[in-house]
């Protein structure tokens, strides 16, 4: 009788602890996926910011984005692109530039897609416009007209 009771108790505790362990692992995986998805989105935004930094020094945007189907502006791991240690090495960013469909030479569409851990992909597309050149200014301000997640 005592043996039967002890065995039942051990089995019940095993079942409960097994379920708790499974729940914990599932919850940890969900939380990690959520964190990775956010990291990937921010990596795509970093790709947009890096692209705009490059575009700021370009004098003629029609040379930078000649192809309506898109021109790759940058590609690589975020660690290499930013030259910063401590970032997730799985994050890769590709940024394309597209000319303005309406033909405005001071408007560009920049699209960045980041891939992260677990095969996640997040993309951001912005339409930017360059302010008219001031006579004494060396660089021209860039304004975001439209920002959207893709």
């Amino acid at each position: 009788m005592a043996l039967l009771t002890a065995l039942t108790a051990v089995l019940m505790m095993l079942a409960i602890s097994g379920s708790v362990a499974l729940n914990t692992m599932t919850e940890t995986t969900i939380a990690a996926n959520h964190r990775d998805a956010l990291q990937t989105l921010y990596a795509a935004e970093a790709g947009i910011d890096l692209s705009i930094m490059q575009l700021r020094i370009a004098t003629d945007w029609s040379v930078v984005a000649p192809d309506p189907r898109g021109t790759v502006l940058m590609q690589g791991s975020l660690v290499d692109l930013l030259q910063v240690a401590g970032l997730d090495p799985r994050l890769h960013v590709t940024a394309w530039v597209f000319p303005d469909p309406n033909g405005d030479p001071d408007v560009l569409i920049v699209q960045a897609v980041a891939s992260g851990g677990g095969g996640l992909h997040r993309g951001v597309q912005v339409t930017i416009r360059r302010a008219p050149a001031a006579p004494s200014a060396t660089t021209r301000n860039i304004e975001t007209i439209v920002w959207r997640e893709r």
Binding site: A9, M12, V20, T24, H34, E143, E149
Partner: protein
């Protein structure tokens, strides 16, 4: 010859020992069962928080304007002369669905009293006829708005009084709004959720998150 068997005293002692063992086992299993239920509830609470954080932040990121009151075809706050509610946020100019290319939808997030007393639901109103609960068991929701000070510099909290004192301007849909709302660059949301099971609230305490959400479509000139 005496028949083999147990005396009443032996049976009583055996029963007492068995009951003590079974009692001890149940005493050990019951809290474990409670912890098991609590763990599932805690996971549910975290998932609800993640869902709320994702939905709210995606909409604020994409919004071209925000209003601290309900905007839409039914129960429009501005029509009632209400221009500020602590627990209400409307995002304007957002896609009608995630990843959609249109940008002319609006959504209002607000707190509504739940079915049980003292509980609230986070509601999502699409500006037309759809007004649906998004989250249950919300304890608290509040929104704060941040923008540049009139003298420039870093973002400061825009006091509620400044968002209802005018001057008033008209938007594309001919609705009047306080001009200070044009200064809003960031929305801060405070969301507090509770466990769905009142018996488990001792083990699963209320959880609160604060979201700082920058509006990407109103970015400063770089």
């Amino acid at each position: 010859m005496r028949n083999a068997g147990f005396s009443i005293v032996e049976l009583l002692i055996a029963s007492a020992v068995t009951m003590a063992v079974v009692g001890a086992v149940l005493a050990a299993v019951n809290p474990a069962q409670l912890m098991f239920r609590a763990q599932g509830d805690a996971a549910d609470l975290h998932q609800r928080l993640r869902a709320a954080a994702d939905t709210l932040s995606a909409d604020v990121r994409a919004a071209v304007a925000v209003r601290p009151y309900r905007v839409g075809a039914t129960r429009d706050d501005a029509a009632l002369g209400i221009y500020y509610r602590t627990d209400t946020l409307t995002v304007l100019g957002v896609p009608s669905a995630p990843l959609s290319l249109d940008t002319d939808a609006s959504r209002t997030y607000y707190l509504k009293s739940g079915t049980a007393p003292g509980t609230f639901q986070l509601m999502q109103y699409d500006g037309s006829l759809s007004d649906l609960p998004m989250l249950e068991h919300v304890v608290r929701l509040s929104f704060d708005y941040f923008g540049p000070a009139t003298t420039g510099g870093p973002l400061v909290r825009l006091e509620p009084a400044t968002l209802v004192d005018g001057p008033w301007i008209e938007d594309a849909a001919h609705r009047m709004f306080d001009a200070d709302l044009v200064r809003v660059r960031e929305v801060r949301a405070l969301l507090r959720l509770e466990s769905t099971d009142p018996w488990l609230r001792r083990l699963v305490p209320d959880t609160e998150i604060v979201l700082h959400m920058a509006m990407r479509n109103i970015s400063p000139v770089r």
